[in-house]
Amino acid sequence: MKHKMLLLAILFLSLCAGPVMAGAGQQTLVIKAGVIWPITGSAITNGLIIIENGKISAVGTNLPVPEGAKILEMPDKQVMPGLIDGHCHLGLSLDVFGEIEETVSAITPDMQILDAFNPLAEDVEKALRSGVTSVLLAPGYRNPIAGQMAIVKLPGEKRDAWLINRSAGVKFSLGNEALMYDRRPTSRPGLIALVREELNKASQYQQSKFDPRAEILKRVVQGQLPVHIYCNTVDEIFAAIKLIDDYKLKAVLVGAREADELANVIAERNIPLIYMPTILASKDKDLKRVGKIAAAGVKVAFASYAPRTNLSDLRTSAIIAAKYGLAHELALKGLTINAAEMLGIAQRLGSIEAGKDADLVILSGDPLDLTSGVEMVIINGDIVYQKEQK
């Protein structure tokens, strides 16, 4: 009986949620823009995007405008898909690292970062204003096996349907940050040994004796759950690749500062890579690395680590990468479709194509022009941010 009531309640709630969700995006919206960057195809000048029920129904030129549609005429503006941040900590009230670092234990795959997410946080709003519409929320850097990452859309004013995936994968950290003087691991080889130990345990895990950590890691070693491995230096990246090879992990490299040194090794394995905020580098040699990585054929996306860097402008990272040698087309893909593919959400996001979610950014100029400002952000067909008029 109790269960039945609960089911009814859930059913009722979801029925309520449905119309609210559609209500906002139900009206047909047509965007007429100077330039449309679909990302998966070439740029369209003076094109239009038709949005119905929060989804893109058509993109192109000379399309018939549906009757009764709301039309946004923006002949001097440019439209691109909402930006996707490949690794950040928005909404986690991150003043000091402690708040996302479970430092008592080094192995915490059962921890879900979404449990600490505050969609109303100010940094979420800032990221939204910079054109970011979806993010991968990640646990911190101090635990070799840090916890489960989540993928959310940034809520903005319309706070519905923001959760995409509560358990999008597990974060590993092979960085220096994971070494602590007062608990295992205290050394780099010790760190790798500990990760292996846990993965070995998980491979042999029997469900008869429930272990919440092994439960998650079992899915990792079976290739059902991806891992995002934070690593920066050549030795850390080598260690990550060895783990991926040995355990046949479905993996993405995160940070990967010096990955240009091993670009071929990474490319031949088809391991995608979410690059660190380029602005954390300052020397020309470091600024040129990401361009070299992509040129070797590695799929690259971008991360802000926000608010760890207080960086809300993911686009700046891509522009700097492009200034120092990354092909412009790949800079745009890194902000959108490449990130979507790495996060497994490309069927819904990452490009302007019929059938995809209407998550769009409207800019005052070219997306890779640093002086272009964000004029409007649309999520699920709703205008969630609009720049104040002068």
Binding site: E122, K126, L280, S282, N310, L370, T371
Partner: protein, 429 residues
């Protein structure tokens, strides 16, 4: 011998005036002799062809860490305004070339923010040099101070209270010190006068004695020499701050700290420069009313790899809002190392993306910082009489993809194409 160079430019971004299309800049012995469309180029002048290119004054990073090895220099004493940043400058630092290659020709460097009054800043030119003396454009450009900086990432309002009052106390003590010095000066003058009178007296006494008259009693009550107050280097520097000879550059982030800095300026009638001014947008009217200049930055705090508390309420629109309210705004990078100064044009472009006027943004990395640090008669714009610190870009300087083709400092080509002039080392590809 006169050295003449003529740059034939596509667009001359003078900054101080209108853009001059298809103009010429004539340089004689390191100074600009003529800037305009109708410039007569004398025979024998070296012609630099920059047709179709943008020519701008050398860029200035008002918050540079270049030349300062540790990124930030801090003294353990809280009040140490007499320290001079020039004493810790390494002219050989390698990153200079990479920064120069992005069109930066001058950097303002200052002590860090751990002290309340950390020391004196300087403006350096980015030329190749073996001593800091060869690079200095101006010393003692400001005393760098800080209010409300949290060092352990823990907010302590008690420390914040102490910051403001400690700086105030140092300024009050300086006033007392100056009074004592003035008093000493008066007493000394009086003493000298009395001494001279005595001497006169003694002379006439002697003359009288010669004449056989008895000497007056004066010899016994010899005037006492006033005690000289001890010279205090701290107060000596702060006296120059109180005399408006050296500005006080205060790093403050939160509105309360910014307002405290403004209170100091009101109380002591100082030349104040607000540094960083992260939440200045919240108190823009108060800053504008007092005509206090601001070195805003970082435009994106991403230049710093730390979630510093000071930047918690950072808003990328800060520089734009301040500028629109009429505040004189310079932009600095405040990067985490010296090489970050190369991002100065990007920082200005980001300000534009967040609503700052294009011209104001370009001025914020050229003429405005020059004015704030008192070097505008030398650098910051393309005007007759100023140093020929000139950058040739192949596109607009605020376009992130524009390449710097040539940099001149005082009429000398210091960077050309992909390498620093006169250097074997390749700078960029």
């Amino acid at each position: 011998m006169r050295e003449l160079i003529a740059i034939r430019a596509g667009s001359i971004l003078t900054i101080s005036g209108d853009v001059i299309e298809n103009g010429t800049i004539l340089i004689e012995d390191g100074k600009m002799k003529a800037v305009g469309q109708e410039v007569v180029v004398p025979d024998g002048a070296r012609i630099i062809d920059a047709k179709g290119k943008y020519v701008a004054p050398g860029l200035i990073d008002a918050q540079s860490r270049l030349y300062v090895i540790d990124g930030e220099l801090n003294e353990s004493r809280a009040i140490a305004p007499e320290l001079d940043i020039l004493d810790a400058v390494d002219p050989f630092i390698k990153e200079r070339q990479e920064v120069l290659a992005q069109g930066v020709t001058a950097a303002c460097i200052a002590p860090g923010n751990r002290g309340l009054l950390g020391g004196l800043g300087a403006v350096l030119k980015m030329r190749r040099a073996k001593t800091s003396k060869e690079m200095v454009l101006r010393t003692n450009v400001a005393v760098k101070g800080a209010i409300g900086i949290s060092h352990s990432n823990e907010s302590s309002s008690l420390t914040r209270l102490e910051n403001y009052s400690s700086i105030r106390e140092a300024l009050l003590e300086t006033q007392t010190y100056m009074q004592q010095k003035r008093k000493y000066g008066q007493e000394l003058a009086e003493y000298e006068k009395k001494k001279a009178e005595k001497k006169e007296q003694a002379k006439s006494d002697d003359q009288q004695a010669d004449k056989g008259e008895p000497a007056s009693r004066g010899a016994k009550d010899k005037p006492a020499r006033p005690a000289k107050p001890r010279t205090n280097p701290t107060y000596e520097v702060l006296a120059r701050v109180l005399g408006k000879e050296i500005p006080l550059q205060i790093e403050a982030h939160r509105p309360d700290d910014i307002l405290n800095a403004l209170r100091l300026a009101d109380e002591f009638d100082l030349c104040l420069i607000l540094d960083k001014c992260t939440e200045g947008y919240k108190v823009a009217d108060q800053i504008a009313r007092r005509k206090i200049p601001v070195i805003a930055g970082p435009i994106s705090t991403s230049f710093l790899d730390m979630p510093a508390l000071e930047y918690r309420n950072h808003d990328a629109r800060n520089a734009a809002i301040l500028s629109k309210k009429g505040v004189k705004v310079a932009i600095g990078v405040a990067g985490w190392d010296g090489a970050s100064s190369k991002f100065i044009a990007l920082a200005a472009a980001m300000a534009v993306a967040n609503g700052m006027d294009r011209h104001a943004a370009l001025r914020a990395i050229t003429l405005t910082p020059a004015e704030i640090f008192g070097v505008a008669e030398r650098i910051g714009s393309l005007e007759v009489g100023k140093d020929a610190d000139v950058v040739i870009f192949n596109g607009h300087p605020l376009d992130a993809f524009s390449q710097v083709e040539m940099v001149l400092i005082e009429g000398k080509i210091v960077y050309e194409g992909s390498r620093e002039a006169g250097s074997q080392q390749k700078v960029a590809q």
